[in-house]
């Protein structure tokens, strides 16, 4: 076939919480080395989709396939970076980065050894011994990113990871993330409500409809060349054209979400 394998394959997935249908029908295919961004108005069930891919939520209908196999139980191949701070405040930066390794039975000294290069990769060399409260918001995010990526998950899931950061820090995070992904490409599902961010980072942008009972509205390929220059990209004509195209779909959904939410 020549085409890369599908890492994530959601087919007609429906998610319900009791009588409430959060996601009506979701089809999402992510290839092995693909970066997919999912955008949608607040409350459209974006996080629900990640929880489904992780195996935390079971779909009421439809099929979740990970590398071709139906998902049962928790997904052992995914790494999940949460929106909110999840670092242990009583552990230093390199102990936090190595946390997953320790959970897998590695010794603390060994985990530290492996964490060191990862801290360097996210630009935090020299910050090994700092506690989370001694780091800035952006630095904490970088530690969290290293914490997720050190486990070398085949599928990386990110749930609005940079939404709490200021614009400049966010751009820095984009650059770091793209550099890391470029160097070692794996499938990445990135949830965001920020269309700029989605187009800047992803190979494909998936637009979801307003919740409840949301579904996929569009699936747009972002053909911008890589490696991308995060700061110069957003003023290019191609970028603006893509933004217009996707916003024409997303904007309508955002309007709808205003109506349903009062």
């Amino acid at each position: 076939m020549g085409r890369p394998r599908l890492a994530v394959d959601l087919r007609d997935v429906m998610i319900r919480f009791g009588d409430f249908t959060a996601v009506k029908s979701m089809n999402l295919q992510v290839a092995e080395t693909e970066f997919v961004a999912v955008v949608g108005p607040t409350g459209c069930g974006k996080s629900t989709i990640l929880n489904t891919v992780t195996g935390l939520l079971k779909p009421a209908a439809g099929d979740v396939r990970i590398f071709g196999k139906s998902l049962t139980g928790l997904n052992g191949q995914s790494g999940y970076m949460l929106q909110q701070e999840g670092l242990l405040p009583w552990k230093t930066a390199h102990d936090n980065v190595g946390l997953g390794l320790v959970f897998q039975g590695s010794s603390i000294a060994k985990a530290r050894e492996q964490a060191r290069p990862w801290l360097a990769k996210v630009g935090l060399k020299g910050f090994e011994e700092r506690y989370p409260h001694q780091l800035s918001g952006g630095q904490r995010k970088r530690v969290a990113m290293a914490q997720t990526l050190i486990m070398e998950p085949k599928i990386v899931l990110m749930d609005e990871p940079f939404s709490a950061l200021d614009v400049h820090t966010r751009r820095l995070m984009h650059r770091i993330l793209l550099d890391l992904w470029q160097a070692d490409r794996r499938s990445l599902v990135f949830i965001t409500h920020d269309l700029d961010e989605a187009i800047t980072l992803a190979d494909r942008v998936v637009v979801m409809s307003a919740g409840p009972a949301s579904r996929m509205v569009a699936d747009v390929r972002i053909a911008l060349p890589r490696p991308r220059d995060v700061s110069a990209l957003q003023t290019t004509d191609e970028f603006v054209a893509l933004y217009r195209e996707i916003w024409s779909l997303l904007g309508a959904e955002v309007e709808k979400s205003y109506v349903t939410q009062g």
């Binding site: 992780t54 928790l74 790494g79 999940y80 949460l82 909110q84 701070e85 999840g86 670092l87 242990l88 405040p89 009583w90 552990k91 230093t92 946390l99 997953g100 320790v102 959970f103 897998q104 506690y131 989370p132 409260h133 001694q134 969290a144 914490q147 486990m151």
Partner: protein, 257 residues
């Protein structure tokens, strides 16, 4: 002069002033030394005590009782707190019993412990434990229950096992609570030891005070109280040190700098 220096100086001046007034009052015959012995006689008495071996034995025994009841109380209280903190069902079942037990004025258990365990060390430690245990228990319980849910979710997503969660998430989280109550716990442990000694024993600071009281020796009682205060201040300083070392990861409170 720094603010801290001025505070210390003022405190010193207040103490010195009170002692002077007291001393002069006794000299002038305004204060009856039978009820309020002059500070100078207290100093002499403490000096006398310090030159005897018995006094140091008393201190050693009280210290041993304090440390033992502190450690046992913290151990049992923490274990109980973790267990109930992690098991909502058990917590619901046990809660009324704990409340009931905690409502008993613990001092009243002293005589019972003397009957059960005799006049020796065990009855003192037992009373101390019942006092420390609840402080440690309530704090651990709270600490385990109030683990930041995001931190917990993140640890779970990193595939932490139950024992890893306990070791790396629940226990450290509870530790901050236990440590913040450490000073109260130490006070409780001292109180348990001294009160139990006072109620019936053959050695210890409580015994020393009880003996002096038995012969209406106010000087002995006051001197004993002063020694006891100094004892607690020293323990408090040690706890303070331990707390600072164990909580390095915590941001400094905003009002301190």
């Amino acid at each position: 002069m720094s603010r801290r220096g001025r505070v210390a100086l003022t405190q010193f001046a207040i103490v010195l002033g009170l002692i002077l007034i007291w001393e002069l009052g006794v000299w002038a015959g305004l204060i009856d030394p039978f009820f309020f012995p002059a500070p100078s006689t207290l100093v002499v008495r403490i000096g006398d005590w310090m030159s005897t071996a018995d006094f140091w034995t008393d201190i050693g025994i009280t210290l041993l009782e304090t440390v033992l009841s502190f450690l046992a109380g913290i151990g049992i209280g923490t274990a109980l707190g973790i267990w109930l903190g992690l098991s909502p069902f058990a917590a619901e079942v046990v809660q009324p019993f704990i409340k009931m037990f905690n409502a008993i004025p613990r001092i009243l258990l002293g005589p019972i412990f003397v009957i059960w365990f005799g006049l020796g060390l065990t009855s003192k430690v037992a009373l101390g434990v019942t006092l420390v245990l609840f402080v440690a228990f309530f704090n651990t319980f709270q600490g385990v229950r109030e683990v930041n849910p995001v931190v917990l979710a993140n640890a779970r997503l990193l595939r932490a096992s139950k024992s890893s969660l306990l070791r790396h998430v629940y226990l450290p989280s509870a530790t901050t609570w236990i440590l913040s109550s450490l000073r109260v716990s130490v006070g409780m442990a001292v109180m348990g030891a001294v009160v139990a000694e006072y109620l019936g024993s053959s050695a210890g600071l409580g015994h020393l005070i009880a003996q002096a009281e038995g012969v209406l020796d106010a000087t002995g009682v006051f001197a004993g109280i002063i020694v006891l205060s100094a004892f607690v201040v020293v323990l408090d300083a040690i706890v303070d040190c331990a707390e600072k070392r164990l909580l390095v990861w915590r941001p400094a409170p905003a009002h301190e700098s």
